[in-house]
Symmetry: C2
Subunit: 416 residues, 2 copies
């Protein structure tokens, strides 16, 4: 007997027929003797409609009212799934965020979960009642409905799993797991059976859009074993894969990784643009002077590279921004030219960031060198490099994206 | 300065453009210096869609889950109206039933309001904030969302008005008031400036479908002056009608009726069927024996007539049921023939109940006689008669509906 959280997204609950399919997945786990809490998103399209109404009502609107409007989508699906489960003879009830309660901070529209008291849910689960929880929502300190921001149902699911000490949080999604890289680019990409939280965090933020980044952070902090699987599986098929699980990827603590590989996956982020500032005076506070104005303009800066100054007087700073913000970022910096006292500014739009990710590289030397050599052999020029303990990122011309990703995928033995 | 409740139905909030129109009505009252609480229904069509989903999920569904699903419609419109009001520079916020809270009993799906603590709302109103309240919903003792049954937003509005001691509850609807009778049948029908609660109660239950019966009952009990007006009025037109109000009907205590007329209106109820049971033994319990089985079969009995027994041994009982239940009602009674020991049973489908209503008839003799004589002069046969203190109802052949209504309308001086 295990305690499970099962999370279903908007396409899985888009109409009553699909909600019935979700209910069959739930029934399978209940029949297997598990205690089950389900977290649901709104019907696909519903949230977009509600958001559109808010925007039509006023382009700049009160986030508290937006939350009241938009949270209604999950209220509907949680009630409907409870009805369908009861129809199948399963003891179930819906829970709204304010009923549990799922307490959040006061940042309406993009709230963070502060606290969930799981004791009441646990009591009901032990009585054999399935909890159907409206995802994406909570209650703020002002006693008003809050929402977690788009994609927040993943975070709800993981937070509930932590609060009720679930053995596993199953995320049913439209892909059947996390791959070594994008299978559309590398047909030999393999599904990973297991991936460490830290690796997943790098992959999620780098564009392997399986799970919301915040949900992975939360899973890591609370040690919630999170299993990504396809919602298109036949609910009644035997669950006889690895660890008694069907095909999917378990995101877990690195201690649980069975065969620890040096490199786990190759991620890439398109739609980046590079900006380089030449000969900035190399003195304390210069980085702040550059990035402060960009932050004020709400421009998200990703990769940042600053090298040791060769002459101790000036240095070059390179960074990336979303391609859509390229012109605006240049404008912001040109307006600050006198203040920043740089010699020149240049940039490039058609760049891509390719990252090699693997928790194993912490204990293996030469991983980075291997990467640079491999790319050089294919004649791919590296514009900039940044590294972390478990990641090497290179910025290259976007024309080489596929070649670079395939080369690295083979190089680190990831081809299936 | 007055304190007002303004209630808008589903067609008035069917899209953002109409919600803007509602907001202009609200702004007019705020600009006039009034404290305003608004009660809104769901967008027209929204509730039907939500109900349809519940039925598709399971024909017999948990009323608590139904409530969670269906109440979401008013959650959406309350938030959207608050956004539009804010956009117009008006301080406003939405309130869900559970936030105020509007406490109801535990009859999910058809709950009755038990208690509203208005102190918090009053505090906000005094600070100049408009309260936009989701109608039709409350919170049950189990801490779950409850709904009041279809049309319940009228009841919400009146209950809120009572709780905040509002000076008036304005019901914006698709007609511009209460008429002396149906203008489609009597072109000379006049809009009533004022009508007493008791009269309105008789009119509402008799088919003048302007206000939900329960809301009128509640208005009467709490003495809430309720003003019915058209939501199609130009919001910016000067409010220069009677009592400084625009065209409409004020439902109020009889003390407030200015020109007390003997008869206020003529109502009629089509789709009735008459059943008469002949020679039932005239002994205690016989009425119960007749109507008990009908109640068990969920058949709604309206008009009941039983005369004094001429011989002290048997009597005749006549009553009406909805025409759609006629066959079923006959069947129920025929099944009980031995038990009831009646001589015969007969009935008629094409009957109509016409009622003369007026609080003034309590102090005027001869009103009933005038009615019977008037109908007789037109050759209209009366099948049965019932009266209350403020109402005379006659059952006649439905072919004479228009003639009877027009005759009585003229007879009592109601023609405009």
């Amino acid at each position: 007997m295990a305690r499970l959280v099962m999370k279903f997204g908007g396409t899985s609950v888009a109409n009553i027929e699909r909600i019935r399919n979700v209910a069959r997945h739930v029934k399978r786990e209940v029949d297997a003797g598990h205690e089950v809490a389900v977290v649901v998103s709104a019907m696909s399209g519903a949230t977009n409609q509600l958001v559109a109404w808010c925007r039509e009502a006023a382009p700049l609107h009160d986030a508290r009212e937006y939350d009241a409007v938009v949270a209604s989508g999950e209220q509907v699906t949680s009630g409907l799934l409870a009805i369908v489960l009861q129809e199948m003879g399963i003891n179930a009830r819906s829970w709204q965020g304010w009923q549990i309660p799922i307490r959040t901070d006061g940042s309406h529209g993009a709230a963070r979960i502060a606290d969930i008291d799981g004791s009441f849910l646990i009591e009901r689960l032990k009585q054999g009642q399935v909890a159907v929880i409206a995802g994406f929502q909570g209650i703020a300190p002002d006693n008003r409905i809050s929402t977690l921001g788009r994609g927040g149902s993943d975070t709800s699911a993981v937070a509930v799993a932590a609060a009720i000490q679930a053995d596993r949080c199953d995320i049913y999604t439209d892909v059947d797991g996390v791959y070594t890289t994008d299978p559309r680019i590398v047909p030999k990409a393999r599904r990973l059976d297991r991936v460490a939280f830290e690796e997943m965090l790098e992959m999620a933020s780098l564009g392997a859009k399986v799970l919301q980044v915040r949900s992975v952070e939360m899973a890591m902090v609370h040690g919630v074993r999170t299993f990504v699987r396809s919602s298109f599986d036949d609910p009644d098929a035997p669950q006889t894969g690895k660890d008694g699980l069907p095909p999917g990827t378990l995101i877990c603590d690195e201690d649980e990784l069975v065969e620890q590989q040096v490199v786990t996956g190759i991620a890439f982020a398109k739609d980046e643009a590079q900006i380089s500032i030449r000969n900035v005076p190399d003195k304390p506070g210069v980085a702040g002077a550059v990035f402060g104005p960009l932050a004020d303009a709400n421009i998200n800066v990703d990769m940042i590279v600053q090298n040791i100054s060769p002459d101790g007087k000036t240095t070059d700073i390179t960074f990336t921004v979303p391609e859509s913000e390229y012109e605006r970022a240049l404008k912001v910096l040109e307006d600050k030219r006198t203040e920043l006292a740089y010699a020149g500014i240049e940039g490039a739009r058609d760049v891509v960031k390719v990252s090699v990710i693997g928790i194993g590289m912490r204990s293996h030397a030469g991983v980075a060198a291997q990467c640079f050599r491999g790319l050089a052999e294919k004649g791919i020029n590296i514009r900039a490099i940044t590294t972390s303990e478990i990641k090497i990122s290179v910025l290259i011309d976007s024309a080489y994206t596929e070649l670079a990703v395939r080369t690295l995928h083979s190089l680190y033995g990831l081809d299936g």
